[in-house]
């Protein structure tokens, strides 16, 4: 039965949610510029408002008042619809993100599945934005975004699956409640690490921003956008970053349930969730300041050869632990053991003398040429 009060609750909740997300986006823009500035020995914005707090607001107003130019040969309808296609799925996902036990706009029973189903949709918007701009850089960026986002969607799906296997439910609030004794980051460090990396790649933040890499495709799908339409892509990027951080806080860091238990008043629970989310966001910014952008071939091999096998391993150990009834700590031990494999391989690779490594790559390339692999791919 449909209860009118429920629908009203959802409508009011959505209104509050949208406004809240706008404020969050402004805060993230300010935080990112300030934090990156500090990490690079600068002070960041200082002029507009106290501590430069109003800089982001000024930027938003400026973007709204800029002329909206579109290229002449663009496919106009798709060109103007693409920002909507990118933003709306990213916003709809927030419907089911809980901030406290009973505080979600609508606590869907299949919350995690709902997130996966809708977060994939924005890829379509990026590809269409690139294609409809009638610019070569935009088209390249659009197809790059398809290849990248599609590849990193799989580790996200599989790590969330590992969480679902251990928790036995797809309801996000119930997953948080299941972390009463220990957060899943302690039980499933493997899944947590893969989820964070793949999540950063999925929102295209800097070590993985190959599809709008300024030095290669000058902004990718967004080259031709300006004014309000460009602002919406920007908005979507921050909203998506925040949702990845929020899911990290809720599904892996114990949300409102850990470490203070169930006695926490709801307001303190919300504050705890937000604090954890902002902490994860700061880690994402920190990674941006630390690592240079990956090349596209490195990006694809990291996704397909490291993150996807690791995420499958995370699912398999979680399922085996549940099925055979192994003790809980065995999950942690197995996760760390599996995480050690790529770590050891990487250290060994980096300790090799450069000449030896170059010879090995050359030998491999010659062998591949002889086998004819790769030729068939082209």
């Amino acid at each position: 039965m449909i209860d009118v009060r429920d629908v009203l609750y959802v409508a009011v909740g959505l209104f509050a949610l949208f406004n809240g997300l706008m404020v969050v986006t402004l805060s993230l823009v300010w935080l990112e510029r300030k934090f990156l500035g500090r990490l690079q020995g600068r002070v960041g914005p200082t002029r507009v408002g106290p501590f430069g707090l109003l800089q982001a607001v000024a930027d938003a107003v400026k973007l709204l008042m800029k002329e909206d130019v579109s290229p002449g040969p663009a496919a106009r309808v798709i060109f103007y619809a693409a920002p909507l296609l990118v933003f709306v799925p990213g916003f709809v996902v927030w419907l089911t993100i809980p901030f406290a036990r009973d505080l979600a706009v609508r606590n869907l029973e299949l919350g995690i599945f709902f997130f996966i189903a809708f977060s994939v949709l924005s890829i379509v918007g990026l590809v269409l934005a690139g294609w409809s701009s009638a610019s070569k850089y935009a088209a390249l960026g659009g197809f790059r975004s398809a290849a990248q986002l599609v590849s990193y969607e799989i580790p996200i799906i599989m790590t969330l699956l590992a969480v679902v296997v251990v928790a036995g439910t797809m309801n996000i609030a119930e997953v948080v409640e299941a972390q009463a004794s220990a957060p899943y980051a302690a039980l499933l460090p493997l899944a947590a690490a893969v989820f964070l990396l793949a999540g950063i790649a999925e929102v295209g933040r800097t070590p993985f921003d190959i599809y709008f890499a300024e030095s290669e495709v000058v902004g990718g799908p967004f080259v031709e956008y300006s004014g309000a339409h460009w602002a919406v892509f920007f908005l979507a990027e921050y909203v998506n970053t925040f949702v990845i951080a929020a899911l990290m806080a809720l599904l892996f860091l114990g949300g409102w349930r850990w470490p203070f238990g169930a006695d926490l008043p709801p307001a303190a629970g919300v504050a705890l969730v937000l604090a954890k989310t902002y902490a994860v966001v700061l880690v994402i910014f920190w990674l941006r300041a630390t690592y240079p952008r990956l090349r596209i071939d490195q990006l694809m091999s990291l996704g397909w050869k490291a993150l996807i096998p690791l995420s499958f391993a995370a699912v398999l150990i979680a399922a085996a632990q549940q099925f055979y009834g192994w003790p809980v700590w065995s999950l942690t031990v197995l996760s760390v053991a599996i995480l050690a494999v790529p770590a050891v391989l990487q250290v060994r690779l980096q300790r090799q003398p450069a000449m030896e490594r170059a010879r090995r790559y050359a030998r491999r390339a010659i062998a591949e040429r002889a086998r004819g692999t790769g030729e068939a791919v082209r």
Partner: protein, 123 residues
């Protein structure tokens, strides 16, 4: 505290889409009212470092993007089977667990095959 209800869930999803859509369209409308509009022929040229683009973009793309899309499809479809299984496999017969292990093994064999064939190399 709202009550559970399947129909209400769907109304909520549609409403969320409508709110996001309306807010963004409102933003576009506000920008249209506020922003200046002085179109010119030169502004309408797609960006290509100041050169007149010839031929236009939107022409051809490399097939390697297509291969990754196909590989992704396999895994994305598999998610539809894996999630229901993850919720119920403890409560059903033991062969459900082993059947899914077999399914995942086939998938992993697919990745290994693609890897061996060099499909995963970006060239």
């Amino acid at each position: 505290m709202p009550s559970a209800g399947y129909a209400t869930d769907w109304i909520a999803i549609v409403l969320a889409g409508a709110v996001g859509f309306a807010a963004i369209v409102g933003m576009f409308a506000a920008s249209r009212l506020l922003a200046p509009r002085r179109p010119s022929a030169n502004k309408a040229i797609p960006y290509e470092s100041g050169i007149r683009p010839e031929p236009l973009g939107r022409s051809q793309f490399n097939v390697r993007y297509y291969i990754f899309a196909i590989l992704f499809l396999v895994f994305d479809v598999e998610a539809v089977f894996l999630f229901p299984w993850a919720v119920v496999f403890l409560d059903t017969a033991a062969y459900v667990f082993y059947a899914m292990l077999l399914f995942i093994a086939v998938l992993l064999f697919g990745v290994a095959y693609a890897w061996r064939k060099g499909v995963l190399e970006w060239r």
